[in-house]
Symmetry: C2
Subunit: 216 residues, 2 copies
Amino acid sequence: VLSARELTLINDGKIAREYLPGDVVYHQGDPANGIHCVESGLVGLRRLDAEGNSVLVRLAYAGDTIGYRALLAGEAQRLGAEALKPSTVCFIDQATVRGLLQTNPALGLRFLKRASKDLGDIEDKFVQSATLDIKARLAHLLLVLKERCATAGANGELILELPISRQDLAAMVGVRPETMSRTIRQLEDEGVAFFSGRKVRVPKLDTLIEQIDLDG
Amino acid sequence: VLSARELTLINDGKIAREYLPGDVVYHQGDPANGIHCVESGLVGLRRLDAEGNSVLVRLAYAGDTIGYRALLAGEAQRLGAEALKPSTVCFIDQATVRGLLQTNPALGLRFLKRASKDLGDIEDKFVQSATLDIKARLAHLLLVLKERCATAGANGELILELPISRQDLAAMVGVRPETMSRTIRQLEDEGVAFFSGRKVRVPKLDTLIEQIDLDG
DNA sequence: CGCCAGGTTGATTTCGCTCAAGCAATGTGG
DNA sequence: CCACATTGCTTGAGCGAAATCAACCTGGCG
């Protein structure tokens, strides 16, 4: 939605950086002095609480914009951003962002749509964590990851290449790593999904979907 | 942020309606063909799941705009809206909304800020439901309600007039009504807060705040 | 008066957390 | 090249918090 002139404005103003897994893009609590764009790789947005528990709230893939919420709400970052894979992330200064938003209303609407989408997604996560049990939440997470990480599925089988560790899988579902282990085992015992390293084999997609409704 | 002409445009286009407690403003799953504005009263935004469990995600007070998320994201309503008190809610057609957003960029930015705020709030709720125990979540909820429902606080005491039933209190924290009862009892036994109907007396605000950090 | 919805209480069970140990893969230094 | 720490994951035993099931109040209200 941007004009050529605006694009060059961004290109001049942006600062790209490389991050290795574990590197911090910004800390939770940092003031928002711009937005970040994931150009390649994968970035995790997580919240750490006082006791050191971490909740992985969202994953940002290539093309996603992160940190915009804090800037637009005029708050500090509530979530920290950390590279989960080797990534290139660029930074756009808040002055540039605000300037663009002033001059290009269509950009604002784009952001608005994006924020509305994110808002709906997190509402879902919230409701699910309140009503679904762990197995169902894990099944749902796998279905979401399927959209991004599905690899060759021979004869109806589904193969996923998970982008994150077990610990982070647990942090996304909001449980302890031990519990994640047990839940994975449970899915395997029931023949729903088979985990090997970061690969997951799902013989029948339907059985995975059933887990969500059949709650307990 | 609106011009006089725009205001009259809205006033011509809007349709106001009265709702009694329990009346549905719109159903979850409805297509979004406009936005609603709470002019007076109180509206609850809730999600019902297959088993009939209800989660009360947000409260909308006078002046709040609801249903905007679905319209802007181009989705169906993920949450249903239901009057919790006698309320006046007006409806603004999507054509009018889109028109205004096109012509008045500042309005879009307002929405953007609002969405960013909502997004942060629900992120908080999500993280809290994953890390805090029930007593802490209830304490937090009371602190939030304090901003809206605090009445005369004699000599350091705090008196709240809750706008919602116990059931809905439970639905906001994401627990069963029975558990809410017990948790309330617990707070009373500990001298933190005393419930009588919809009135809550908090002798010392500090002790309420402590409940949030002291987790278990 | 009887009915009914909302709320409280009790007994029991289930689920997920805690604490603790064991294991495999990787890395590091002697 | 091997002893050894480290890290990520799995497994087990026990516990505690919340759900469930069920009974029983309580206050309107026809």
